[in-house]
Amino acid sequence: MTTKRFKQIANDGVIKNNPTLRLVLGTCPTLALSTTAMNGIGMGLAVIFILTCSNAMISMLRKIIPNEVRIPAFILIIAAFVTIVRMVLDKYIPALYESLGVYLPLIVVNCIILGRAESFASKNAVLESAFDGLFTGIGFAIAITLMGIVREALGAGSIFGIHVWDFKMEFFTSAAGAFFVYGLFIAIFNAIYTSVENKQRQKSFLLKLEFASKKEA
């Protein structure tokens, strides 16, 4: 795998095709678990591990798994990794296990993980698929953690459980607040992304124009 390909995969996973803010996938856990920053980072780390391992495993088995049963096979593989994460969290971080609740087993049918398995891991080499899983997971983890920080700070007056101010608006910890913050994040992220992309386009257009005029001269 070349450095250029590696950079492309990293950029796709974290920015260009950010699963939460660009593709709007995995909305259910994003809305439900971004109540606190700690929940966000916990869920993010769980998804990074599962996505990296399942992508690598699916890519490894892609030539063996018949096309007709690929979805049940993907679900079996993902479910195995989700169960491992559940058991590890229950044993070593019970507080996080309790707070992630039903959303942890629901990772099995998370659109991000199934989506990457179907669109990337089943068509690419093991290393590329593992990196794709890692960076897509990082993109999800960053988005859900940032949302958690904002919602916890405005809704509970703390960040990662540490008291920062007395201002509290319970709206931000409610379901309506989750939709509001999520919408705001998508809007801000896409506004920044579009403006950067437009600048890059303008820059490359000017470079092309300059090159053409030099050629003409």
């Binding site: 049940p72 096979a73 169960t83 058991m87 044993k91 507080a95």
Partner: protein, 200 residues
């Protein structure tokens, strides 16, 4: 279709691949579940740690059938702690959609004299959807009302002569189940522990 044709068919290959994945994953998970098994004892220690913030030794008390149920709900487990307090896991009835709420209660004692409730922590609940509406202030009511608790009163959502008024936290039926869970624990304290030698 002949046996040979079936063995070479895509259907057979699909079944075999799925079976192999399931067997390998199942085997791996079986080994890991043995390694990462969390015993009941460990879960109780965790619960005590959450409530107390420190490790403390305890002894589980046996419950007779008559002790296990009362008009408010049921008593799931009772532990006598090293510091002479009792840790009671009690379930309250009549929540939202006839669901239940289970709580851990610390009944505080000093030389067999009941001093009130020291802590109330929710362990689990069924069919209750607005449990997050109950903030810490709601549970504080239980251990701040020491005089009423020692005086023999029970908790309830609405005020009446024999009840202690309780805030609802935006979900009165869930509040009812939480109150019943605490009352179930209090019933045990007043009727079982007291008759066994503890004073009220």
């Amino acid at each position: 279709m002949k046996v040979n044709d079936f063995l070479k068919s895509k259907a057979f290959k699909s079944v075999m691949v799925l079976m192999c994945i399931a067997l390998v994953a199942g085997g791996l998970l079986a080994i890991l579940s043995d390694v990462l098994y969390v015993s009941d004892q460990e879960r109780i220690e965790r619960a005590i740690n959450t409530i107390y913030g420190e490790e403390i030794s305890f002894e589980e008390l046996e419950l007779s059938d008559s002790d296990k149920t009362n008009e408010y709900g049921s008593i799931d487990n009772v532990y006598l702690l090293e510091d002479e307090n009792y840790l009671i896991k009690a379930t309250g009835l009549h929540g939202y959609k006839d669901g239940t709420v289970t709580v851990w209660i610390v009944a505080e004692y000093d030389k067999a004299e009941f001093l009130g409730l020291k802590k109330v922590v929710v362990a689990s609940y069924e069919k209750q959807t607005l449990m997050s509406s109950f903030t810490n202030d709601f549970y504080k009511t239980f251990y701040d009302s020491k005089e009423d608790v020692i005086g023999g009163k029970y908790f309830a959502v609405t005020e009446s002569e024999n009840n202690i008024q309780n805030i609802t936290g935006g979900a009165s039926k869930s509040s009812n189940a939480i109150n019943n869970a605490v009352d179930s624990g209090l019933y045990y304290v007043r009727n079982v522990i007291a008759s066994d030698g503890g004073e009220i």
